[in-house]
């Protein structure tokens, strides 16, 4: 076995900075000490994708397996080969750590994405956006990370060049479409289907089951969906307003409220994009990139990817309080 260079080891060691995740109980204790509501402490797990190693869902098994085997290799090399092995172990574990971190976040986002899956019987009438595009096709390509982790470490690495970011993706000219969404809420599912934006093709096929079913339940389901959507929009609007007013903490709280209230929300992607925007404003680059990569993994064809790239490249517009 050849010894890794000190440069490699140095890099691997620096990579272990990523282990410094704030334990949720530390955070809860601190927040409790200052009288912050417990709900707010959900930020960490939502924004960073959580620390549990068990999160492996449909879209991330390959990644997770790579992580596992690399990690195991690291452990074995530590056992077998003394210091040289330990050093290699450090390297392997470091590699695994990165991949694992990515798979956690991807898993977290894909878990959310799964709530939108057409096969899920839970909320067929709550899918107003065009994101069935990717979930309807099981063979959909997985987008590469928006910003590969190593690039983030270089100051010049925030190059937002589209070539580095996967296939051409339709560009959204507007951010979260709150005003358009608001105008659509009062009507019915057919109308809410246009909430996303006109760049997406109609989802007529997805809406058919609701239209074909028994009339009375359909109407009440439509009303319920409509009411839910109004609530979702209100939450996101409040969060967006808070961000505009330079109060990102409040924006995050509203988003946490959204997550708690609308776990299977129709505006999940909008909420995720908004959270990324807030994190960027907070200067939480690592979390913002992590969430962005998870988003790209879960929604490889989302029209929001262009906006996310723009957010990451742009950096904070205004400073946090």
């Amino acid at each position: 076995m050849t010894h890794p260079s000190s440069k490699q080891v140095a890099r691997a060691l620096l990579g272990t900075f990523s282990q410094d995740e704030v334990p949720s109980d530390s955070k809860e204790r601190a927040f409790a000490a200052f009288g912050v509501a417990a709900a707010v402490t959900g930020i960490s797990t939502i924004a960073t994708g959580g620390a549990s190693g068990a999160a492996v869902t449909a879209s991330g098994p390959a990644v997770a397996m790579v992580a596992k085997s690399a990690a195991t290799a690291g452990a074995f090399s530590v056992l077998k080969a003394g210091i040289a092995g330990a050093v290699m172990g450090v390297l392997a574990v470091q590699a695994a750590d990165r991949v694992t971190a990515y798979s956690h976040d991807a898993a977290s986002a894909s878990h959310r994405a799964a709530t939108h899956h057409p096969d899920e019987p839970t909320a067929p009438t709550q899918r107003p956006r065009g994101h069935g595009l990717e979930t309807a096709n099981p063979a959909v390509p997985v987008a590469p990370p928006l910003m590969p982790a190593p690039d983030l470490r270089e100051p010049a690495g925030t190059d937002p060049s589209p070539a580095a970011l996967g296939p051409a993706i339709p560009t959204l000219s507007a951010p979260v479409p709150s005003s358009r969404a608001r105008s659509a809420t009062g009507a019915h599912v057919g109308t809410t289907a246009s909430i996303g934006n006109s760049a997406f093709p109609s989802l007529a096929a997805d809406e058919k089951p609701a239209a074909d079913s028994n009339a009375a339940p359909a109407v009440s389901a439509v009303r319920a969906a409509s009411a839910t959507l109004t609530g979702e929009i209100t939450r996101l609007d409040r969060s967006r307003a808070a961000l505009r007013e330079g109060a990102p903490a409040r924006a995050i709280r509203e988003l946490d409220g959204y997550d708690a209230e609308f776990a299977n929300g129709s505006l999940r992607q909008e909420a995720d994009v908004l959270r990324i925007e807030v994190l960027v404003e907070m200067g939480e680059n690592v979390r913002a990139h992590t969430l962005a990569n998870a988003f790209a993994h879960a929604h490889p064809t989302s029209g929001y990817l262009a906006k996310i790239r723009e957010l990451l490249a742009r950096g904070p517009k205004r400073t946090a309080p």
């Binding site: 140095a10 691997a12 410094d20 601190a30």
Partner: protein
Amino acid sequence: MPLAKVTPAPAPASMSTDAESEAAPSDSQNERIRSLLVLHFDFVWRSLRRLGVARSSVDDAAQEVFWIAARKLDRIEPGSARAFLFGIAVRLASDVRRRVARSRELSDDALVEAAIDPHADVEVLVDQKRARDLLDVVLETLPLELRTVLMLSEGECLTMAEIASLLGIPSGTVASRLRRAREAFETKVEQLLDAHRAKESAR
């Protein structure tokens, strides 16, 4: 635990001389400190850890930072909260480390042995933890100003401009410190590796 509320002692001398702390905080002050907590707790906690505060002490130190900040709210300029909190964290971290260093005299070598002992647990997480411990060992050898820029760049992925703004120093200074930090870090890693390879081959 109301630890720091009654024991503001670890605060640097320059920060603990205020009398304003006794006044009951207003609602808006409470709201402000909660906002700071929500926005910056993670950053402060990670920074303290990366500035060398032991795992067992980070929680207390992080709360301490915010208790100190709570008494200084009126001094926090708009847009500079993060830098303000980071300043407190840096001072608190060096204070905590000074105290700990007096009670614990472990050589680099012993720590490295502990960190990369090949006969220790095989659990991956433990291995990762050992690698992280080794990182601490190497960081300990860096001067504080180099350690600070290195951890902000490598740990927080901040750009040089962001680091410059956070520390209130010119970008050029950040760049040169970062370069020196990386060189010093690699040199130290090389020394440690050489020493241990020599030891291994002598066995």
